[in-house]
């Protein structure tokens, strides 16, 4: 359903919505760029919620969801940077500038990359779950600090539009694509959580019943 909505939203964004007055056709990247940013931030928030839930309950199902949310945030963060750089090259004439949103997106991407690297180095499942939860909470709290800190430096990024300032033919594909991204992200997190749960099951030592069963054969 997410992919179908993404196809519909992208078709509307590319062929139905009019080009923007100043930026022209390049503005159409907004129909994937803005949903990527929204859903990416939502996934990062979900990662924070899952991390707190894991530390609170010590239930490994929250760690399964945490790894899903971390990886999807990392993926969307990477996509966001690439889309932003493509748009910036055409609109601003440069691939990169130390603008508030660009810098915050990059730092968030690097923070989550660090947590995923930490997970890769920790072999013991309980320790891996606890440490990555702790690191996720610290990283998530750090993101607004980075945002406000860079904001104090002069920002180049344009002020975001709102549905009131944008024509409805532009709002509809944006909303359709946002829901599409959301559905795809939720599906990916659930799928990754299931894979993590199964792989953890394989890591677990065999139960007594399993060992006795093998002995009888």
């Amino acid at each position: 359903m997410g992919i179908l909505l993404l196809l519909v939203g992208s078709y509307m964004g590319l062929f139905v919505a009019p080009p923007e007055r100043h930026m022209g056709e390049v503005q159409r990247i907004m129909y994937v760029h803005v949903p990527t940013a929204w859903v990416g931030l939502l996934c990062a928030t979900l990662a924070m919620v899952f991390a707190v839930a894991y530390l609170w309950t010590s239930n490994s199902k929250w760690d399964d969801r945490l790894v899903g949310a971390l990886e999807v945030s990392f993926l969307l963060g990477g996509l966001l940077l690439v889309q932003g750089m493509l748009w910036g090259r055409v609109t601003w004439g440069i691939w990169w500038t130390w603008d508030v949103r660009l810098t915050t997106s990059l730092i968030m991407f690097l923070l989550f990359a660090g947590i995923l690297a930490l997970r890769a180095f920790v072999e013991e499942p309980l320790r891996r779950a606890t440490w990555s939860s702790v690191a996720t909470i610290v990283a998530y709290v750090d993101v607004p600090l980075v945002y406000f800190c860079v904001k104090w430096f002069r920002s180049l990024h344009q002020v975001q539009s709102s549905p009131e300032t944008v024509h409805s033919s532009m709002v509809v594909p944006l909303r359709v694509n946002s829901f599409a991204m959301l559905f795809i992200a939720i599906w990916l997190i659930a799928w990754r959580a299931r894979v993590e749960s199964k792989s953890r099951g394989e890591e677990r030592p065999p139960t007594r019943r399993q060992v006795e069963g093998e002995g009888n054969v």
């Binding site: 530390l55 730092i107 690097l110 923070l111 990359a113 660090g114 947590i115 690297a117 930490l118 180095f121 920790v122 309980l126 320790r127 606890t130 440490w131 939860s133 702790v134 690191a135 909470i137 610290v138 990283a139 709290v141 750090d142 600090l145 980075v146 800190c149 860079v150 104090w152 430096f153």
Partner: protein, 226 residues
């Protein structure tokens, strides 16, 4: 013994170990000095640009040296699983965290005079009593801001085989707010604060320090659980 007393005892233990293994502690200072020398060769910055660049080089030298200092602070605990001995004592994990974070902050503060002296020579900084006092406060706040999350992460990564890679990967992006506020404040102290912005930046840096010290202190005990 109160939690404060326990924290001070842990800090004293770490500082004593730092003193006894002073060759390693000196190596951290030497590393910071070498970093500064490399920066001054890598970026040919003179005059006003040089003063501005010096602020950045100082904080980055502190950040890079902190990795060695933080790794060192948990190396002894990880060796022969000494941390488990510490946990068997009736010591609150919160006291262990704050004791170690205080010791790490003080070790990083000690780097200040050495690195600042070198920077003043390399970049012809005009230092006097007034801006030295400001720089001392700022250095302490920057060191505290790095030591708080650094102590938390070093406690985790010290028990990993890839600790040399993971600690900077986790710590460097996280400490960007400290780097930015530190660099801007240093620049204002060294080049003059015509718009009275310094107070705001120092307050911001203090606020970041508080967030890190409270958050990391609250989460530390979970990283010790096996």
């Amino acid at each position: 013994m109160s939690v404060l007393g326990q924290a001070l005892a842990v800090a004293r233990k770490d500082l004593l170990l730092g003193w006894r293994g002073r060759t390693r502690t000196l190596a951290v200072a030497l590393f910071g000095m070498v970093t500064l020398v490399l920066f001054s060769f890598a970026v040919a910055a003179d005059g006003e640009v040089g003063v501005s660049a010096a602020a950045g080089f100082l904080i980055v030298a502190l950040l890079l040296s902190s990795i060695l200092a933080l790794e060192e602070s948990f190396r002894l605990e990880a060796e022969d699983r000494a941390i488990e001995g510490l946990l068997l004592l009736p010591v609150d994990p919160v006291a262990i965290y704050y004791g170690k974070a205080v010791a790490n902050t003080l070790l990083l503060v000690l780097l200040g005079p050495i690195l600042l002296f070198l920077t003043a020579i390399f970049f012809s900084l005009q230092l006097d009593g007034a801006n030295l006092a400001g720089l001392a406060v700022l250095w302490f706040l920057a060191a505290a801001g790095i030591a708080a999350p650094g102590t938390l992460y070093a406690s985790m990564t010290s028990r990993l085989t890839g600790r040399d890679v993971i600690l900077p990967l986790l710590l460097f992006p996280l400490t960007l707010p400290i780097l930015m506020t530190g660099v801007r404040s240093f620049d204002l102290i060294l080049r003059g604060d015509a718009m009275s912005q310094l107070k705001g930046w120092i307050l911001l840096l203090t606020a970041f320090d508080l967030v890190y010290w409270i958050l990391c202190g609250a989460l530390f005990s979970r990283t010790l659980e096996e």
